[in-house]
Amino acid sequence: MDEEPERAKRWEGGYERTWEVLKEDESGSLKATVDDILFQAKRKRYMFEGHGQVRLGMMRHLFVIIDSSRSMEDQDLKPNRLTSTLKLMEFFVEEYFDQNPISQIGIITTKNKRAEKLTDLAGNPKKHIAALKKAVDGTCVGEPSLYNSLNVAMQTLKHMPAHTSKEILVIFSSLTTCDPANIYELIKTLNALKIRVSVIGLSAEVRVCTILTRETGGSYNVILDESHFKELLMLHVKPPPASSSSECSLIRMGFPQHVIASISDQDAKPSFSMSHLDSTSEPGLTLGGYFCPQCRAKYTELPVECKVCGLTLVSAPHLARSFHHLFPLEAFQETPLEEYEGERFCEACQGELKDKSIFTCQACKKVFCVECDLFIHDTLHCCPGCMQTDRTS
């Protein structure tokens, strides 16, 4: 196609209408509402979780499917869709393991009508990030295949125990999919296996994704720009509510202690880590490590599933970090600024309250600005106002 090289030049690719966001809207119904909708979506993120005691799927098995088809070369995300996506994915993987320490992730790419597993399900962020870094140099060719990639993910996920949350996240840039069989059959199977599929579209709403997400109970979003993309991706960091039908069971977990042995120690024998047996790149013999309390197999990193006895090995801090998902901070009440009587200072940042609405903690009645409200709910997970009153009382 002779159009391609032309389009590659930035100045011919069309102007971006960055000023459109700032456009004042007199009719009061259209453009401004889109921002409003976005703002509400921002808050909805934790409002959604705030509904009392919801069971959460804390042990997650997530496959991320990344479209690497021709359309990923599009330059509407800078420098192009693929690079931008992979960059965000790195961030996502880190954040994911930070918030879900006892969960696992795997990455699949699809191009040229095929699906390829980039990394298998594993609980170690390093390996995934390395794989993602490497993938940047890959070429984007052909069409993606939604069917094939979902199928690959399903083959692994269907063997996962029923008490875990099985999820697939598709990052879909193309508007078409090239499938070898009827995808609606596959959707039915996914639904039966209770695998939740969510999609983030990079270009526009595609019907088959709408159906796919609706049937399997996932979410479907289309990005507006890069920052919106990041927000949407971050939505998937929090564990989703578990479906009520998923079975409930006690799981055995091992809490291995880290044994540090020095060379000077006479009893210390260097040994292989079980997780690195098959890889050649890592250094083989080490002294210390985590030893499975059940079978004494050694691992250098946690969390991991013991290769020998199948016990889930975690450390206590991991579990503690997941704790806040179970008891999330209540959503703050939103009130318009005009109705608020009192000093107009945010309790957290001490800045002046200038936005059109303020947020009040239901417990301690302290007020906060939008930014702090987000920060408290996203990062702190506890209200600074309440902490203060706890201490003083």
């Binding site: 459109e20 999919t177 019907r207 507006l224």
Partner: protein, 759 residues
Amino acid sequence: MKLNIEGLLVYFPYDYIYPEQYSYMLELKRTLDAKGHGVLEMPSGTGKTISLLSLIVAYQKAYPLEVTKLVYCSRTVPEIEKVVEELRKLMDYYAKQTGVKNDFLALALSSRKNLCIHPEVSSLRFGKEVDGKCHSLTASYIRAQHHSNPCQPVCQFFEEFDAVGRQVPIPPGIFNLDDLKDFGRRKGWCPYFLARYAILHANIVVYSYHYLLDPKIADLVSKELAKKSVVVFDEAHNIDNVCIDSMSVNITRRTLDRCQTNVETLQNTISRIKETDAAKLREEYMRLVEGLKEANVARETDIYLSNPVLPDEILQEAVPGSIRTAEHFVGFIKRFLEYLKARLRIHHVVQESAPQFLKDIYEKVCIDRKPLRFCAERLRSLLRTLEIADIADFSAITLISHFATLVSTYSKGNLYDYDFHQKTPTIANPVLHFSCMDPSIAIKPVFGRFQSVIITSGTLSPLDIYPRILDFRPVTMASFTMTLARTCLCPLIVGRGNDQVAMTSKFETREDFAVIRNYGNLLLEMSAIVPDGIVAFFTSYIYMENIVASWYEQGILENIQRNKLIFIETQDAAETSMALEKYQEACENGRGAILLSVARGKVSEGIDFVHHFGRAVIMFGVPYVYTQSRILKARLEYLRDQFQIRENDFLTFDAMRHAAQCVGRAIRGKTDYGLMIFADKRYARADKRGKLPRWIQEHLTDGSLNLTIDETVQLSKHFLRQMAQPFRREDQLGLSLLTLEQLQSEDMLQKIAQIAQQA
């Protein structure tokens, strides 16, 4: 919810209402109050049907003496069924709210083919066959023969109905076609005749246009409808063409040949009957001497809807002597036939007006005007007397007789045209087109007879032209816009390619290589960014073929196919429906598809592309009608002389209504969204733009005129992403969707007042 529309209590079966629906009902109420006609334009997908039904039913309940019947005319069977379903919802709501059992009778009527329950007859595939077979089982003399000879087969359903069905009225309720069939099966009555009989006392009748407009059918079905009825023509943007079609006749050599055989059969039957039963023919003769008095009496007392084929003056006269006896009449028809045959032997195109034709026929074969006018009635009477069972065989001669009557009755606004058949330009195969120039002839009795006639559609702009071409005086003309919480339609006018070459389907430049290439690039670029389905419309089949061939040579087609599959509408109906099915499948499973079709074709008129089936519509060129056609030229001339409508105004109006129809296919509701791309620089001109419906024009800003392809791509991308954001009902509430409380607020009522724009 219960609404108060200027003092009228209206039950509305939904909890929410669109502001424009409220406004629409207001206008409708005023029209009914004034007992006049109305022209109302409201975009599709905003609940036109339910607003119409709610208001008119409420009106009927409140003033049972003012409005006795609602006659709702729609175009296709699925549309009829949809209307009945809405009505059912409304009636259920009434029953629930008032606690009184519904005492309304509403029913749908369709052809025998859709209603027949006779096991043999209903298995026939074509409507004509069903009609013919049905007639051969139910005609009065067949049944008389059955009395004497029980072996003669009759339809037991009809017999049963005829025996008891008329005495026992059909119970109140809502009957769609299937309900009628069920009811018929239960009782053992023929649903078709039951429905035809029941429309006389039904409160609401839903049927096709033709039952009112086509004189041949209207006479049978609708002539006894009460004067105090409200008639609604839904999807009426093409009503003038329907009127014209119902009054036009095309005659080929084949028709004449078949007519010839018909005449021979008639002759044989007559001579046979003469030997056996001469009294019968004499009886008929006497009846004809009496004249058509009966019909005349009926018309004077205003019981019948007058048949435009047979104007009042004729009824007062007796059938002229020259065609009273059967043999004379057959001889007369024969002569007429020979004359037509002679005329069709010509090798050049001739165009004549009615008086010219009559003069010529008088000079050549001495046929007077008067007997010609009685031709249709006379033939019907003869067929009845001769007890010919299968009238389907006689369609050719019936056609000729209709032609004779029409030609002699309406000297104004008609035209004959001997034309060569288009498919075989080398072989002389002339066709006689008898075309009616004046749509008001067919619709005049409707306007004259009924108290209120409402013409409504999604695209009726410019409103003032309809009253002019249909020759009536409406009391209300209004256009309603769509109130939207988000701009879900995005009309763009693409005038130039990336190389700045103007894009247009203008005749002089349509073969231009650059134009074709730019059209191709536009489709290619759009196929890469629009999800699921794209529908592209061309101005004609030939133009589409040329362009697609050229795209193939340039390799554009191949590139497009990398993004989406391509389907093409053809003139073959079976092929097209196959293509359409596959197109929808491709949209459904994520492959994505493009449907190339033609404005004025089947796809552009009847098929909706909801949601993902049409995310973008591209209109390549302005769909002007083929202006070199003689019939069109004559019609334009007629319009200019009679109604002072300039040729250009009419042509643009016609082109724009079709363009609006095409692009309107994509938006079928407020949750739907779609791009509307007008790919021709001529759309940007004020005279074209101004003729688009107001609900499209509103969103056509200066920024979206005369764009280049890459600007279009940028705007579309932006639009599609905006639209893909989650959209919930709460976002609509208060803006484009109202609860009862919101509706009653003062400022909302003010806003609503602005929705309707009086023309």
